[in-house]
């Protein structure tokens, strides 16, 4: 960067080819730097993918193969013998979808009410809700687990859905977005048409806030799909495990060297759906996070 700024000045002063050369090397370094990191960010995905189709001895060969010399599907076969892995992936989907739907519904409903309705104690309740974000999860995790045991919710998805359905942060985001993007006029028009409060929310507000719902939904879905600590506490039977959890159990249960190629086969299967989601919603997701930063 120093080189380019000097080059700028040099060009203004009319120094010819030397500054052009400097500018070019500056740009070359810029691209080298950025693509080097791009390579670093991509390489583990590549490792996971080729490892999934390699025999273990090839992955750990003295001079390793960077691509499978003898591609095999054995890793997948072995993984599926060890775990009902389709079921595990389906569980991840089930967990993430169940979390996401609840979060979207309860956050937008409360967000709408806080943004557009006046009622006694509104400000106090809103502040109390924000204050709740200060409670770190570490402080509550043991009794939370004991509570789930008492409710006989262990080894079900209920502990991973219901307690997480109304996060304060999501309600806050929805309130901000609805206050800024839903005009009062269309709500008044709805009231004049005789809509009930729920109809106002369902028919008028929801269609307007689809962009915000998309961002919140994808973030929640990714979080739910990748959730680890809480599922680790409550899920125990092979049929109930989520994909990351099944793989962690596989790693933990291996007596000898871990079967990385099996793990990679499972990892690739568990990561692929998220990559698809990412590429479909990339633009909304990135813009959502970037615009959040300006407000934050």
């Amino acid at each position: 960067m120093i080189a380019t700024s000097r080059a700028d000045k040099a060009q203004r002063l009319g120094v010819g080819s030397l500054s052009a050369w400097r500018r070019k090397t500056g740009r070359a370094f810029l691209y080298l730097f950025l693509w080097l990191f791009a390579f670093i960010f991509l390489f583990p995905f590549y490792t996971m993918l080729v490892g999934a189709f390699m025999p273990l001895n090839e992955l750990f060969a003295f001079t390793p193969n960077l691509y499978p010399a003898h591609p095999t599907l054995d890793n997948f076969v072995n993984l599926f013998q060890e775990f009902p892995f389709w079921r595990n992936i389906l569980n991840s989907l089930f967990l993430a979808a169940g979390q996401t739907i609840g979060v979207l519904f309860f956050c937008s409903l409360a967000g709408f009410t806080f943004a557009k309705r006046r009622f006694p104690g509104r400000e106090g309740l809103f502040v109390a809700m924000l204050a709740s974000m200060m409670i770190p999860q570490q402080s509550t995790i043991i009794p939370w687990y004991l509570l789930m045991a008492r409710l006989h919710w262990l080894d079900t998805f209920l502990p991973l859905w219901i307690p997480w359905w109304a996060p304060a942060f999501g309600i806050f985001l929805m309130r901000q977005f609805i206050a800024a993007s839903v005009p009062d006029e269309i709500l008044e028009a709805g009231i004049a048409d005789g809509c009930s409060l729920f109809e106002l929310y369902w028919r008028i507000v929801l269609p307007v806030i689809v962009p915000a719902l998309t961002v919140l939904g994808i973030l929640q879905f990714i979080e739910g799909w990748n959730a680890f600590l809480y599922p680790l506490l409550v899920l125990t039977s092979k049929e109930m495990l989520t994909a990351p959890l099944a793989l962690a159990f596989l790693l933990g249960s291996s007596l000898m060297a871990p079967q990385y190629t099996w793990l990679f086969a499972g990892s690739a299967l568990a990561t692929f759906p998220l990559i698809v989601v990412y590429f479909v919603f990339q633009r909304q997701l990135m813009e959502g996070i970037m615009s959040g930063a300006i407000k934050g």
């Binding site: 700024s5 950025l34 009622f119 939370w144 004991l146 409060l197 568990a270 970037m290």
Partner: protein
């Protein structure tokens, strides 16, 4: 369902004894219903466990049999435990290393990826953000293989470059390095995006004015970008610090806290105390101490953020 427009209803007239404020509240019962899920869920699944944890942190209990009230013994036990002290030190080291380097790298990435004359900007942004969607657990498998002491590809690369292969998972400092690399690999894309958002919130005429004044790129970066980005940088600091204080998945899979507790984090120690040795009282006390630490650090940083905004 009650119509919104025609609120003052005949039922009100039949309850003349209610004071006006209760009438107001009854009239808005639907609003309370709509915001109630948060309060019900929070009360049952977060506040009640919090109070329970507070009670538990003064007891000795392993899940069975009667609890024994032990006063402050759990806190004392946790404070003086070597593993907890080591975990606190490790967590602080991770925070001190990860947060500033994260700020530096993500701000650099953001400034470069924000350049209009950069070709392939969209592709690069997509690649940089891609690791964010991965599960820390799944990435930890990959990193465990890549950094494996004897067969890892990183050591193969070092050998190919005529360098000494390293015992990544046998030396405490090196194991910390692997955790730092993994955390950055997953997290940098997100903070870069937040920084990019901040950069795009800076009005272009600020740059134009600086350019007219004859400031070079480097000067503009230090005298314009960095001061204007301070709130965003502090925001990234706050969420980054909370992230480090919550760190669990990476050491749990990658090192189980080893070698010799070198990568043990506070949350991992809490998990071990509570769910591997079922020392629920000690675990609850440690949970409270972590909570106080997180709140104290976050509040300090937020206060800084507010004073910088003005």
């Amino acid at each position: 369902m009650a119509r919104v427009g025609s609120r003052p209803t005949p039922t009100m007239a039949t309850r003349p004894l209610l004071p006006p404020i209760w009438r107001e509240i009854w009239r808005h019962r639907l609003e309370y219903l709509f915001v109630s899920p948060f309060f019900v869920i929070f009360g049952i699944f977060h506040l009640y466990p919090l109070l329970w944890a507070f009670y538990l942190s003064f007891q000795r209990w392993s899940g069975f049999g009667p609890m024994v009230f032990v006063g402050l013994d759990d806190y004392r036990a946790v404070f003086t435990e070597a593993q907890v002290q080591q975990a606190l030190l490790n967590t602080l080291i991770f925070a001190v290393v990860l947060v500033p380097t994260g700020i530096l790298l993500s701000l650099t990435f953001a400034v470069l990826l924000n350049r209009r004359d950069l070709r392939g900007r969209g592709v690069l942004r997509t690649i940089y953000f891609l690791p964010f969607i991965t599960s820390a657990v799944i990435v930890a498998f990959v990193f465990q293989m890549l950094f494996d002491n004897s067969y890892g590809w990183i050591n193969d690369l070092l050998k190919a470059l005529n360098l000494t292969p390293l015992k990544w998972f046998s030396v405490g400092a090196l194991a910390k390095v692997v955790i730092v690399v993994l955390a950055h690999w997953r997290g940098l894309g997100y903070s870069t995006l937040i920084m990019l958002g901040g950069l795009q919130g800076i009005a272009p005429d600020v740059y134009e004015a600086a350019a007219i004044d004859g400031a070079g790129r480097w000067r503009i970066f230090w005298d314009v970008t960095v001061p204007l980005m301070r709130p965003v940088m502090l925001f990234v600091t706050v969420i980054g610090t909370i992230g480090v204080l919550n760190m669990f998945n990476e050491p749990f899979i990658l090192t189980q806290g080893g070698p010799g507790n070198a990568t043990l984090t506070l949350t991992l120690r809490l998990y071990q105390l509570a769910f591997q040795t079922t020392r629920y009282g000690d675990g609850a006390a440690l949970g409270f101490l972590i909570g106080v630490l997180i709140v104290a650090i976050t509040m300090t940083q937020m206060r800084l953020l507010r004073s910088w905004r003005q």
